[in-house]
């Protein structure tokens, strides 16, 4: 009798860690989602908290660790391509000097209580964070490919201009789950601002091509 009691006690104590270990991976995702969402202050404005929401593309990219199978990739690229919008006047190439400024600016859009951007601060494209562009800027990143001589190498045909605009507007239309943000889709840059960056990339007079 005594032995059986001890055995029973062992059984009731032992399974707890074992159970925790055997939970399926999907359960980890829902638990993680819960602790992640629960990690933010209650007094965050609703529009801040919206930045934690995921659209279908974000959800799929996260799920496949940015390397989705071909079927998923095609689905994402097709849907993203359909999202692209153009300036009202239809002109896809703007002022490279404006584009040059936007490419260098890394501020804007920071929220939170510690170090938010002051209201009205310019939101830049921060292109140099990831790409090499004009020769004179040595502080460039390498997360994306070098875009030095972008227009010199590719020309500035209508087709190249449209491709460049589309890529900046929605990078995922070409490569699902790429590291590059979807600048137009999120209204991070306006269509007009995108045309300036297009000019910075393709205009023969721009330092991207001239130097």
């Amino acid at each position: 009798m005594r032995h059986r009691l001890i055995a029973l006690a062992l059984i009731t104590l032992a399974p707890l860690p074992a159970l925790a270990q055997s939970k399926p991976a999907g359960d980890i995702a829902s638990q993680a989602e819960q602790i992640f969402r629960g990690s933010f202050r209650d007094d965050n404005p609703a529009y801040w908290m919206k930045r934690l929401d995921q659209d279908e593309t974000m959800r799929l990219c996260s799920q496949f660790k940015d390397n989705p199978p071909a079927r998923v990739r095609h689905k994402i690229e097709k849907a993203e391509m359909a999202s692209i919008r153009y300036p009202v006047d239809g002109k896809l190439i703007g002022d490279w000097k404006e584009g040059e400024k936007l490419a260098a600016v890394g501020t804007g859009g920071h929220i939170g209580f510690i170090q938010p951007d002051p209201p009205g601060r310019v939101r830049g494209g921060n292109c140099y964070a990831c790409h090499q562009l004009a020769k004179k800027e040595v502080a460039y990143g390498t997360i994306g490919p070098s875009l030095q001589h972008f227009g010199k190498l590719r020309g500035n045909t209508e087709q190249i201009i449209k491709y460049t605009y589309d890529k900046i507007y929605n990078s995922n239309a070409f490569t699902a789950c790429t590291n590059m943000p979807r600048f137009g889709l999120h209204n991070w840059l306006t269509p007009e601002q995108i045309t300036h960056i297009v000019a910075f990339l393709v205009d023969p007079e721009s330092p991207v091509n001239k130097d």
Partner: protein, 268 residues
């Protein structure tokens, strides 16, 4: 191969070599900049201060922190930082250095949680006791290997949740931690980025915090580092000591395990 093609290739080769050299000298000078800073790390000032804060009886209970159990037993600090986060039976929680330190300041010294965490990081003219204490505790693991195997089921669960959060994309820039920290040999501007999914990359990152940041004029703790990454991702900031920040640390420390601690570091 035709002579012309050979000549063309030679030109391309030269071009590439000179480009690599130009970039090489930029990175060499950055390396020189860092080398000149390394000898004379202002974090050492904070280490001194942290030691005094650790040993001085303070708070409503007029106790020092010398009986604080950072995971290796009361008062045992040598190597403790390198083995955190870990599961603590007394609180039934996986805790990182900072959550455990705050727990000790509350339970041993009698401080109110709100009071000790109010100044969890410094601002110009407003110093942070937590920064000083974490710098001191970190220094006590200098030269020791990071060892967070995450074998306890709760630790293992936190590591998996940390990995999930690492790849979780959201916000107006489609960011996740993996965007910047999921590949080898990349830079953002001139800052090299560790591939935190590998032992080498996570090792470099995790072994050098806490670190003095010259751009901030302050030592940053790992909580501060991770919370600021989320700010840069344009997300709201998670709360100090929140589970998702601890989960990320378990995932990263587990990946970095085996790397020798070199702290306090000094960074841009």
């Amino acid at each position: 191969m035709s002579a012309r093609l050979r000549a063309a290739l030679a030109v391309v080769g030269l071009g590439l070599a000179s480009m690599a050299m130009a970039q090489g000298s930029t990175m060499d000078e950055i390396a020189r900049y860092r080398e000149m800073l390394a000898d004379g790390n202002p974090a050492e000032l904070l280490e001194l201060k942290g030691e005094s804060l650790w040993k001085t009886p303070r708070g409503p209970k007029n106790a020092s922190l010398e009986q604080c159990d950072m995971g290796l037993g009361p008062g045992k600090l040598d190597g403790a930082y390198a083995q955190l986060p870990r599961y603590f039976a007394d609180t039934r929680k996986v805790m990182d250095v900072e959550s455990r330190l705050v727990h000790c300041m509350v339970s041993l010294q009698g401080f109110k949680y709100e009071d000790v965490t109010r100044q969890w990081f410094s601002r110009p003219g407003q110093e942070s006791e937590i920064e000083a204490l974490v710098t001191y505790i970190g220094g006590k693991s200098n030269g020791m290997k990071i060892d967070v195997p995450a074998r306890h089921p709760e630790e293992a669960r936190m590591a998996k949740m940390g990995e999930y959060i690492f790849y979780r994309r959201s916000g107006p820039q489609d960011f996740s931690c993996a965007i910047c920290h999921g590949q080898d040999d990349k830079r953002i501007r001139l800052q090299e980025l560790g591939n935190l999914t590998t032992r080498a990359g996570a090792g470099v990152a995790m072994s050098t915090w806490p670190s003095y940041r010259v751009s901030q004029g302050a030592v940053w703790t790992m909580q501060r580092r991770l919370i600021d990454c989320m700010r840069q991702a344009r997300w709201p900031e998670p709360k100090y000591l929140s589970d998702s920040v601890i989960a990320l640390q378990v995932y990263l420390q587990k990946t970095a395990s085996g790397t020798v601690m070199q702290t306090p570091g000094i960074k841009r």
